[in-house]
Symmetry: C2
DNA sequence: CGACATTTTGATGAAGATCAAACTGGGTGG
DNA sequence: CCACCCAGTTTGATCTTCATCAAAATGTCG
């Protein structure tokens, strides 16, 4: 169950009691199923709540004149879209689904209540904001300075690592329910060039993306080519292929700095 | 005085009493002067506080293999660098000065105290986080999809608007204490190409950047070329050249949603 | 004055865009 | 069951933009 993956991610940052986990779970009871290519939140709109992705892929994106689309973030299961969007009087970008998506709807009020019942949540949310910012910065690097091959390799490393963190990988494989065009929109490449790059990645025996499935043949090599350093994702397990799994003891959550009021 | 610019920016989001303004001011008493090209915060380090830029330009950046540098954000007077950095056990990027810079040092503790004494501050900081995120996303667009000319035009629009918001423009002119190379690092272009692009902007009578000064000849044109929509900056005055200045009445700060705890 | 950073100019090359068309494969309806 | 359709993928050919290299010009500061 993905909500467990979600609470698990929260525990990266704060220990949760069973009651707290139950509170999270019950807050996520109200779910909705969306078709692919569905506009969850349109640029200019405002919201009253937050959506937690339970299954499927969504993305943040902006349309550009000329019909081109730039995806600025992939949203995968366990991701909270726009915790802070309620502050806004109008989104500056859109959020849409790429595949069929199931979301849990969290109203602003239930988020408020939840943060009161689960003290660590605030910290966890702050942390995930930080990770999201870092990821966007990494995308600036990617799009700005890396070649098509390197860029694609980097994105695959990032996605595979994130999928691994929510337990959605099987061995060296994971499902990415997106098209080559969707990749192109994220990588700021033409679909044609993405195709050629994917073929090259296969030829180099680094990774295969086909039929919505990503298979990693050589993570270290991919990481090398992409210049991928997983630090910015702040994952418990920096590499999805590290053999060394801490047995039992979860990573010590950072000491709770007295009370850190929402900053 | 730039601190006034800072409190003024805060007031965009919450009304401050004179006492609150005074509290902000006294918290900023501890200042430091830094030379240009000074590394304020190195990748991997952690901090105990926050710096408020009082004068000069700094930037967030990451070094890439091959000695190339990608700037992911310009930090200008009135900007708070890394409010959330204290949560981190290691920065994933560096912060450095571009020109001589004067900063106010705010320890974590004094930030805590300040947020308690100035209730609106939390909201204002949350808001500015939102703007920063949006700006980074905009940079992804810029670097990913726009031509050199368009990119440069967009950056100039953004910088001029931000400088205008902290009252550091004079007519159609403002000081940008940075080099063409610094621009190149932000735009993900070679310095040579930046130079050629600047010449083209001049030839088109859109803007001149020379001797660390940016002069806007035709803001509307620049905006057009850059595809610049100021909405994401959430400024009180969307355009630095809008004749219509609200007389007296400040923009109504958004109704304070009960208490929004830090999310 | 001379060292040094920055800006400007020129020539060449490579990465990726664009355009056009063929090929797959799953789904639909006759 | 087959024919068709359509989205997605693959291939080929050509063109643009920008990087790179090299060197000259300009300006600044001790």
């Amino acid at each position: 169950m993905i909500i467990d993956a979600f609470t698990h991610r929260l525990e990266r940052f704060a220990v949760l009691s069973p009651e707290e986990k139950a509170a999270v779970r019950s807050a996520c009871a109200n779910t909705r199923s969306l078709p692919p290519r569905f506009e969850l939140l349109r640029q200019g709109e405002s919201t009253t709540g937050t959506n937690l992705i339970l299954s499927g892929f969504a993305c943040r994106y902006t349309m550009l004149p000329g019909g081109r689309r730039q995806i600025t973030a992939y949203l995968i299961p366990g991701d909270l879209c726009d915790v802070r969007a309620c502050m806004l009087d109008g989104m500056d970008h859109s959020i849409g689904t790429l595949s069929p998506v199931e979301v849990a709807q969290l109203s602003h009020d239930s988020m408020l209540e939840l943060t009161q019942r689960v003290p660590g949540l605030t910290r966890a949310v702050g942390w995930s904001t930080l990770v999201e910012e870092a990821t966007t910065r990494e995308w600036v690097l990617n799009v700005g300075h890396r070649t098509a091959l390197s860029r694609t390799a980097h994105l695959f490393c990032e996605l595979f690592s994130r999928m691994h963190a929510v337990d959605l990988t099987h061995q060296n494989m994971c499902e990415l329910p997106i098209t080559q065009s969707d990749l192109a929109d994220a990588l700021a490449l033409s679909p044609v060039h993405v195709n050629r790059t994917l073929m090259k990645l296969r030829a180099l025996k680094l990774a295969t993306f086909r039929h919505q499935h990503l298979t990693i043949h050589d993570f270290a090599g991919l990481q090398e080519v992409g210049g991928f350093d997983p630090a910015y994702l702040r994952l418990e397990d920096p590499s999805p292929f590290s053999e060394v799994r801490r047995p039992g003891a979860p990573a010590a959550p950072r000491s709770d700095h007295a009370e850190t009021p929402m900053i």
